[in-house]
Assembly symmetry: C2
Homo-oligomer: 244 residues x 2
């Protein structure tokens, strides 16, 4: 059986008990009986098509979502209408925690490709977490992990050079793709160059040029959206440091 993320279309009737991503997801430390309870509160939605919205800015917060396959981008608007892509979400990742605070979602979540989602009603999740300490801990851990991920991005964005930002971005995607069952070296970008440039605070043309430079220096092989990391350790060094 192939991993879920390799098959963009996945069964509507999937269950946590058989999901290959459960080790990344909330049920990670649940015992069989508990897992059945958890699985029972999940709603599997029909797959989202490219461009579809999972939730919109201002929508009432009532669920968090786990990605079973595909990918999402989360877009926030400021009052002047400028949009900013704050997150890309990959299979096994959880979406929507930032809505808990005041009860509505602060941005849009768009599917970047055909994407299958597990919908987890937050009120049920909270009730279940009250009874199952492992689930509660995992919930805190998941939120904490998203915070740490955000801090990583904050560090990345305060890097001065475009090269550092893009190297960091490519490395980070590699790590996350590997975590959900891909090769650590080869993946396909789900987002456009425009999305990348917006996310990293760079001009579209700069992204294109930096990628070309990386290609010319044989750090990565990039054709369109297909990425192959040729020299991970050099790319990593570049992301952290600055020197080639």
């Amino acid at each position: 059986m192939t991993i879920a993320s390799a098959t963009p279309y996945c069964s509507h009737g999937a269950h946590c008990q058989t999901c290959s991503l459960s080790s990344l997801c909330l049920p990670v430390s649940l015992k069989t009986g508990e897992l059945d309870h958890f699985d029972a509160i999940i709603k599997r939605r029909p797959p989202l098509a490219t461009g579809d919205c999972l939730f919109r800015q201002g929508d009432h917060f009532s669920n968090v979502y786990a990605i079973r396959s595909g990918s999402l981008k989360q877009v926030n608007f400021d009052h002047a209408g400028n949009e900013q892509i704050t997150h890309f979400f990959l299979p096994g990742e959880l979406v929507g925690f930032d809505g808990i605070d005041d009860g509505y979602h602060t941005g849009y979540a768009h599917a970047m490709e055909t994407t299958c989602i597990c919908e987890i009603p937050f009120s049920h999740l909270e009730t279940l977490a009250e009874r199952i300490p492992q689930l509660r801990s995992q919930l805190f851990r998941s939120m904490s992990r998203e915070m740490k991920e955000d801090h990583r991005l904050i560090r990345l964005l305060s890097c001065k050079t475009a090269d550092e930002r893009i190297a960091g971005f490519l490395i980070n995607l590699a790590v996350r793709f590997q975590r959900c069952g891909h090769s650590s070296k080869t993946y396909r970008l789900p987002m456009t160059r425009t999305d990348i440039s917006n996310h990293l605070g760079l001009a579209l043309e700069t992204v294109s040029r930096v990628l070309k430079r990386f290609r010319d220096n044989h750090l990565v092989a990039i054709r369109g959206r297909d990425v192959q990391i040729l020299q991970p350790q050099l790319l990593y060094k570049l992301a952290e440091n600055g020197s080639p």
Copy 2:
């Protein structure tokens, strides 16, 4: 009685029941009896002096902390040793959630001035949260709020111009100072220009120059660390948009 944040030195024997910041903090929605239980698990530590460490990178995570007065900066190091200030924390804010995930702190927290802290043992907090639904909800909300705050910073850092970043930074501080009982227009920066430049991914000199430009344009009055926002709506527009 003056607000806690206006008196840098505060009593060691403070209690949630009388704390002026409790409306910002975890006990916000607790009833009297519950508040007593909550107050009982808090440890009040002797004040930190300027430069003191609340926790260090790699320290075992066992507490979250609430700031009663003063301020902290959180500094993260990458593997190359570059440091990055990911957060400044003000009175009424909670510190340390990012340590939950894998059980240790990912950065240093330094006091930027004399700072009083409430130490909240996380295991006790979790146990208490199991019994008190309001506390549990508030805990989730607090974490969610920190996420949202991080997303705001991410948006700020992906702004292209130095003016936008610094305008956004000044506005954000004004909002947070106001929340903890200060004027919305006037405050004193607890951090150095170097700290600001590091946090915003700019050069120290750029921070100085932009502040001078804001002063020349009568957007703000700045003398040393004392800030007075003269034209909040213009500054806000600048932060969101770009135009003067």
